[in-house]
Amino acid sequence: MDEREREKWYQYHHEKYGIPLEYLKREYEEELSGGGLIDAPLEIPDKMDVLYKYTYGQQSRFFRELRENKKIYGAKCPHCGKVYCPPRAHCSLCYQRTEWMPLKGTGVIKACTVQYYTTSTFIKKLPFVCAYVQLDGTDFIMMANMEVEDVSKIKVGTKVKAVFRDERHGTITDFYFRPID
């Protein structure tokens, strides 16, 4: 490929996949300048991508309460009394419909670790705490988004409270947990 063709190639893949031009040049300059033998393996940029208009189904109210009212709701089984959070519309053990129940938004860490490595999406957040929190009034643990200044201060038994973000989207990340001082 001559230089003009190469520039078109970079521009095309940049627009199609959102990969910065400099990264594309770094990876493919040699190949595109004729560096690859005709029988050598050829690598190309690609991406798998699907858009959704996803329904939360019977969990919808949980996310409306987060977004509109900054409230966390659990789901209580009228039969066995177990309170689920994350909520579910049916108790999976009794097969009964659950009832919505407001929670205080406080809880306790039941298990925790610190991540020093993670996926592409979360790399800039490192290091961060990965914890299971049991919300007060529930019989469940949930994976928690934690925001703490000093990751070494988080331990099993640490009491935490939910803090709502100013900008909320109707997703589980509308709130995060902080230790109660």
């Binding site: 770094r26 690609d46 689920y84 994350p86 925790c112 610190v114 020093y116 490595y117 996926t119 999406t121």
Partner: protein
């Protein structure tokens, strides 16, 4: 039920990247080796089971259809299974059922995975993008947005175990890493053969508390295959059949809030118990000659000793300290190098572990051969905090 034997097997090398092969080309290599080993060609295969884990890795949904096509098995029945890290074990389980039931006489069970086409252009490496692909298997609504990884999930379990029982310690975990990397030096297909010290492990960079770099398995590309046959036809294909004498499987609640605790993996306990009962094993440490356990992390290998009843609950660490699981110990574990030393080509892993045990039972394991090995255990686990476990007891004739 009919008896089921492994009559042929083959595996590619386990490598970080096969830039010169696609997933179906890797599958072809393993299938061809397995057919040659059994002395048969594709016409003799009655049905196939494919273990392929992650469609994002392969850059292809329903990749099984393309493997089946490439192997020239058109019009023969086929099914693909996926149960995370336990995919290989689950594929073997379904293949076993196909033959034991009498539906088919000869079944190809093939696992393949090619993860490292995933690529992060910014940091110029594959792993963060591989992890991103894996994170789609976490609950998309509640878990995925927290950015956890397989290592953090299993790390939470190891920490919980340590809090309850005081082990596995950092040193015990490091010894597993040293053992499995060393074992890999005797295995020609292994990805990560290394002579390292406990000190090297302890000094390596932190990945996720309590795991350091050397406590983790690596992501691997490769394919492994076995051919299963009914007793009637097995003897036509081999004079060294390896019988599947025990099989157990279990799937636990994926959401940990539904479990009584996270310091044991109950699916492993249920699966092991069932496999032992079927094989007539009452004292595994005495009655097994070797085991391949799913050591995605050093700490989980130690937990697996307990979950597979090699010792009492909470005593896993002692089997490291007293040498039981070392290559010259009473019950060597992961002579292949395991996931840490040989590699973790997810869909292929359980089949690679089976291949390893079968090599020993056929007395073909070369330098690492367990003298007169008669019976071995495969443990294949996968999913958040060990959702799935499949255990197989393999046994030679006589």
């Amino acid at each position: 039920m009919r008896r089921v034997a492994i009559v042929g097997m083959g595996t590619t090398k386990f490598k970080a990247r096969w830039v010169d092969k696609t997933y179906f080309e890797l599958a072809f290599d393993a299938a061809k080796m397995a057919m040659e080993d059994a002395g048969i060609d594709r016409h003799r295969i009655d049905c196939a089971v494919y273990g392929i884990y992650n469609d994002f890795f392969q850059r292809q949904y329903q990749p099984d259809a393309f493997v089946h096509d490439y192997l020239g098995l058109g019009l023969k029945p086929m099914v693909r299974v996926n149960s995370g890290g336990a995919t290989g074990g689950s594929a073997l389980r379904i293949g076993y059922a196909e033959v034991a039931s009498g539906l088919y006489d000869v079944c190809l069970v093939l696992g393949v995975e090619k993860c490292n086409d995933c690529y992060n252009y910014e940091v110029r490496t594959t792993t963060p993008e591989v992890l991103r692909a894996i994170l789609y298997t976490a609950d998309m609504t509640y878990d995925n947005p927290a950015g956890r990884t397989a290592a953090s999930g299993f790390g939470l379990a190891v920490i919980a175990h340590r809090e309850k029982y005081g082990n596995p310690t950092e040193e015990q975990m490091a010894k597993i890493s040293v053992k499995n990397h060393f074992n890999a030096t005797k295995n020609p297909i292994a990805q990560s053969p290394q002579i390292i010290t406990v000190e090297d492990v302890l000094k390596s960079r932190k990945i996720v508390e309590p795991f350091k770099f050397y406590d983790n398995c690596l992501y691997t590309e490769g394919a492994s295959a076995v051919i299963l046959a009914s007793e009637e036809v097995a003897w036509e294909m081999t004079d060294k059949p390896v019988w599947i004498s025990g099989l157990g499987a279990s799937a636990d609640y994926v959401i940990p809030g539904n479990r009584p605790n996270i310091y044991t993996f109950d699916s492993s306990r249920v699966a092991a118990k069932k496999a032992y009962a079927m094989a007539g094993i009452t004292d595994p440490i005495k009655e097994l000659d070797l085991a391949e356990l799913h050591d995605a992390f050093t700490g989980t290998e130690i937990m697996a000793y307990e979950d597979c009843f090699f010792c009492e609950e909470g005593q896993g660490g002692t089997l490291v300290d007293n040498g039981t699981v070392m290559p010259d110990g009473e019950l060597p574990v992961n002579l292949s190098g395991g996931l840490i030393g040989c590699g973790h080509a997810v869909g292929a892993t359980g089949i690679m572990q089976t291949y390893e045990i079968a090599l020993h039972l056929r007395q073909e394991a070369g330098e690492r051969q367990v003298t007169n090995a008669r019976r071995g255990l495969v443990q294949s686990i996968g999913g958040t905090l060990c959702t799935w476990t499949v255990c197989l007891v393999l046994q030679r004739e006589g």
